[in-house]
């Protein structure tokens, strides 16, 4: 099955990979807000995560209970091999496109 990956999904997937083993809905929301300075709603991040899980790019597990958040457990996400492959593929596609840009175009800026 050819699954495509959207721009926002790619960002979320990159962050899941970056925050290896520690990524959960709110942590990714925060990272997008802080690192990318983009305003984003929690629900759209969660939705992206669930869709990535449906596509098989990430796997979720429920963490242990902590005293924070009223004892509610976090759902942690981890990138799968398929997810890694998808990231690499999209990176290579970009690199290829980048390499097609003539040097002077960028220099003229």
């Amino acid at each position: 099955m050819k699954t495509t990956i959207g721009e926002f999904e790619e960002i979320v997937l990159l962050l899941v990979a970056a925050q290896h083993n520690e990524a959960y809905g709110l942590s990714i929301t925060k990272a997008i807000e802080e690192k990318l300075k983009r305003s984003v709603t929690m629900s759209s991040v969660h939705t992206a995560l669930y869709r990535l899980e449906e596509k098989g790019f990430v796997q979720s597990r429920v963490g242990g209970a902590t005293a924070e958040r009223g004892g509610r457990r976090k759902r942690f996400f981890v990138i799968t091999a398929l997810g890694k492959a998808a990231l690499k593929e999209s990176r290579e596609a970009r690199n290829q496109l980048w390499s097609m840009i003539p040097q002077y175009v960028l220099e003229i800026g």
Binding site: G25, T41, H46
Partner: protein, 874 residues
């Protein structure tokens, strides 16, 4: 944060979230929402944080949160996991209770197999003549003659009818006659063949009916005189591997029939069967017949018509009646015709006499009877299943208790036990197929029920059988599962589980019903067998033992009668030889008789036999008055003998010497014989006249000495060959011919015997299971009774009295039904036995005996148990 920790997210928002999101994402999302809320509180005002919280909660409404079961892993596994668990537990409980399980499965399998066999039989009976594509437009024309004594229905009609219909009535596309060919010789070269099953048919016969031709043209094959169409099997018989088309069969040594068509094998479900069709143009009325092909009074031909589409059949019939009345006019008879649809000929020909040879009829009552038996057997098997499963449920109380504690709701338990009964019934279905395959040859040979032979025939019916089996499984599983799911877990785990009084009452009622059915079936077989014995042994008024019938061609009879008779009578093994027109097995000719001097319209219809003077002594028929035909009186060619019924019907006070116009010849009554049964015992004795042969008859009756029949036959055959030569020596026994009149009854008797046997076995299997169970439950009671001094006999009584009582109740309930049904069936015989008290009693006793044997094994073992063993645990 600590300062603000007493500020909590809005409760209403939480509730709202919990309201719409009920799946396992809820916890983590809510956790994230709360975390975010507390983050917000550090940077913003409480109201702003609360507002954001609400906003987020609302934004989270999407398909992931609304879906009740959104985790793909969860969704995939749980249902099938439970189902797998149910199957596992089913298997384990079957293996744990091997005895009960095999009783259950075997019982259900026998029930299913019986139903399937009956299903095959009934569908075949119902499928008769359905293969004709124009079948809904084909009718058989039948006659009704109404005399003062009542109507008589004749399936055959006169030869002039079909041609007049063809020319005179609109709405009829085609019409054909069919005439059974009496015995002729058929030969190819010098090889002579025995051949029955031959019809003369009009040229359109093959266009009306869909009997497929393998070779030849169905539009022209029967057009010309001396054409014959034969079946493939006959082609092989006559011509071997050669191409039969155009070949010639010598017919009676005088004519040559040319093969103009070869038929594919006829479907087994056709009411007409034939091996050969000869074109009607070939037909010649035999010497000595009183009528010709223009006759309207000679009802010896089948007439079939094909109507044009969408015509009013009643109008056509009216026209045919009109035509009939114009041509056939007898003073004291009203004639009418009836168009009988092709599809109802096979099953609804009961009222017709003179149905004719090679025309097959079935009986609806057999079909109804067997279908009823099938349902009853299935009910018994289903009840067994219900009883055993419910009884067994007591031992599964703990399992159900645990399941309920672990969260199984009632619906789940019901589902579990329905699954179980469906699994058991599917296993039974498999066993049923094995049983059918194993018993196939028995049913085919003994009861003439052809079961499908190829796998594909079974496969096409498989969905139907599976659906029926599932239905049986669900129906019989419904009660046990309802009972089991109603267990209170506390009672079940506390070990105080008892099925209520109502449950026991229901089980008893089911068992009474099973025995009710069994008693009825046993009594039914007893009644049928007694009636068949009665018929077999009833004095028919003549001696049927040791009489052989030799079929002789008319011309051979004319040429060789004296020589044959003289030669045969020389042997010490041959006691008497007589030529006769009929063999006392249901057939006879009939003709009008009027007293000389009486008006023409006071005619009586008399059956008649043509025979010679040896007949009386040969058959042992008693002479009441006067004398029999004798070669000493030449005048006997104009004499006649009457039977007592004829004397009674014609109201002759002084029969001897009375002059009667019979078949247009004036005859004098010279003797009266005692009534004898020349027809089947279904009907009363008809008025009969016996006269000297005025045509050549086709039968020689030979009375032979008892013992070493085979040797006698071979002596006779040698004589036959030396005198007659080529014609085949065609011998049958008179008592076989008589027996054949009761073929249907014999078949019914066989079927009822088999299936009532099965029903009893089933009921007893169920009884065995229940007794085994109830004895288990009573072991402690038995132990205590034994300790207190009860004897083994006393204990046996205690353990079995309930079952004996149930069987007695079932018997008493069944008696009125047995009487009603038995009497109804017996009424179809003019000569019948009366229902006797011993028939009821012996049915009951047989059942009681079988039941006692069934339970004795269990009860005796229980009564002999050492009380220490059962009481030790208390």
């Amino acid at each position: 944060m600590s300062a603000q920790s007493n500020i909590l997210p809005p409760r209403l928002a939480d509730r709202f979230f919990r309201f719409y999101c009920k799946n396992d994402l809820a916890e983590s999302i809510l956790g994230d929402l709360h975390e975010r809320f507390f983050d917000d509180l550090e940077k913003k005002t409480a109201s702003k944080a609360k507002f954001n919280y609400w906003l987020n909660v609302i934004r989270f409404i999407n398909r992931h949160t609304l879906n009740r079961n959104n985790n793909p892993n969860y969704r995939r596994s749980n249902n099938s996991a439970m189902l797998r668990n149910y199957l596992l537990i089913t298997l384990r409980s079957l293996l744990k209770n091997k005895g009960y399980a095999s009783i259950n499965i075997l019982g259900l399998a026998v029930g299913l197999a019986s139903c399937m066999i009956i299903f095959f039989y009934v569908t075949k009976e119902l499928s008769f003549d359905q293969f004709h594509t124009k079948g809904d437009r084909i009718y058989r024309v039948t006659n009704t003659f109404t005399r003062t004594s009542g109507p008589i229905y004749w399936a055959r009609t006169p030869p002039a009818l079909a041609p007049s219909i063809r020319s005179g009535i609109s709405g009829i596309e085609k019409s054909t006659r069919l005439r059974y060919a009496d015995d002729h010789t058929y030969a190819v070269g010098d090889r002579i063949f025995n051949q029955g099953n031959v019809f003369y048919a009009d040229s359109v016969f093959l266009q009306i009916f869909d009997f497929e031709l393998k070779a030849g043209d169905k539009n022209t094959a029967l057009n010309n005189p001396n054409s014959v169409v034969i079946t493939e099997a006959m082609a092989t018989k006559y011509f071997g591997d050669e191409d039969p088309m155009g070949k010639v069969i010598s017919f009676d040594g005088r004519r040559s029939l040319q093969v103009t068509g070869v038929l594919k094998p006829l479907p087994a479900n056709s009411h007409i069967t034939f091996d050969m069709l000869i074109s009607f143009e070939t037909y010649v009325v035999p010497d000595g017949y009183l009528a010709d092909l223009n006759s309207w009074g000679w009802a010896g031909f089948h007439t079939y018509i094909l109507t044009t589409p969408n015509v009013d059949v009643a109008t056509i019939n009216d026209q045919i009646i009109k035509l009939y009345n114009e041509n056939f006019n007898r003073a004291n008879i009203t004639t009418s015709t009836e168009l009988q649809p092709l599809h109802s000929i096979y099953l609804e020909s009961g009222k017709y006499t003179n149905v004719g040879e090679s025309i097959h009829t079935g009986t609806k009552s057999t079909i109804y009877g067997l279908s009823l038996v099938a349902v009853l057997i299935m009910v018994i098997a289903g009840f067994n299943f219900m009883n055993l499963s419910t009884a067994l449920s007591l031992s599964r109380g703990k399992e159900i208790g645990i399941r309920k504690v672990m969260g199984a709701v009632k619906g789940r338990i019901v589902f579990q036990f329905l699954t179980e009964s469906v699994v058991v019934s599917l296993i039974s279905l498999t066993v049923a197929f094995v049983l059918i395959l194993a018993s196939q040859s028995y049913f085919k040979e003994q009861l003439d029920i052809a079961l499908p032979s190829s796998l594909s025939e079974y496969l096409t019916l498989l969905p139907l059988f599976i659906a029926a089996t599932l239905l049986v499984g669900v129906l019989s599983g419904s009660y046990p599962s309802a009972v089991l799911s109603a267990f209170s877990p506390i009672a079940a785990l506390g070990g105080k589980l008892k099925t209520g009084k109502a449950g026991a009452a229901l089980r008893n009622a089911l068992m009474v019903f099973q025995f009710f059915i069994s008693v009825m079936l046993i009594a039914g077989s007893i009644v049928i067998v007694s009636q068949m014995n009665f018929i077999r042994n009833k004095s028919l008024g003549f001696d049927k033992e040791n009489v052989i019938k030799v079929q002789v061609l008319r011309e051979d009879m004319a040429k060789h009668h004296n020589a044959l008779k003289n030669r045969f009578e020389q042997h010490s093994q041959v006691l008497k030889v007589s030529m006769c027109s009929h063999g006392l097995d249901g057939s006879s000719s009939s003709g009008p008789a009027t007293l000389v001097g009486a008006p023409e319209d006071e005619a009586y219809q008399l059956a008649y036999y043509q025979t010679d003077d040896a007949f009386l002594e040969l058959t042992g028929i008693e002479l009441v008055e006067g004398r029999f035909l004798s070669k000493d009186f030449l005048s006997d060619s104009a004499a006649m003998i009457l039977n007592e019924t004829a004397v009674g019907i014609m109201e002759l006070e002084q029969p001897l010497g009375t002059k009667i116009n019979f078949n247009r010849i004036e005859r004098t009554v010279i003797g009266v014989v005692k009534d004898f049964h020349f027809n089947s015992l279904h009907s009363d004795i008809a008025p009969l006249a016996i006269v000297r042969p005025f045509t050549n008859t086709e039968l020689l009756l030979i009375k032979i000495a008892p013992g070493n029949v085979a040797e006698t036959l071979s002596i006779l055959e040698n004589d036959w060959k030396s005198i007659v030569g080529a014609s085949p020596f065609d011998v049958t026994f008179m008592d076989d011919g008589i027996q054949q009149m009761y073929e249907q009854e014999e078949k019914l008797a066989g079927l009822i015997n088999v299936f009532s046997g099965l029903a009893v076995i089933l009921a007893c299997l169920g009884l065995y299971g229940l007794v085994a169970f109830s004895v288990q439950a009573k072991l402690k009671e038995v132990g205590i009774r034994k300790v207190l001094g009860a004897s083994v006999e006393k204990l046996l009584l205690v353990l079995s009295k309930k079952f004996i009582l149930l069987i007695i109740i079932a018997n008493v309930m069944a008696w009125p039904m047995i009487y009603y049904l038995g009497d109804m069936w017996l009424n179809s015989f003019a000569y019948r036995i009366e229902m006797q008290w011993w028939m009821y009693a012996s049915a009951g006793l047989v059942l009681l005996l079988i039941a006692l044997i069934t339970i004795s094994n269990q009860t005796i073992r229980a009564a002999l148990t050492n009380p220490v063993k059962v009481l030790r645990n208390e």
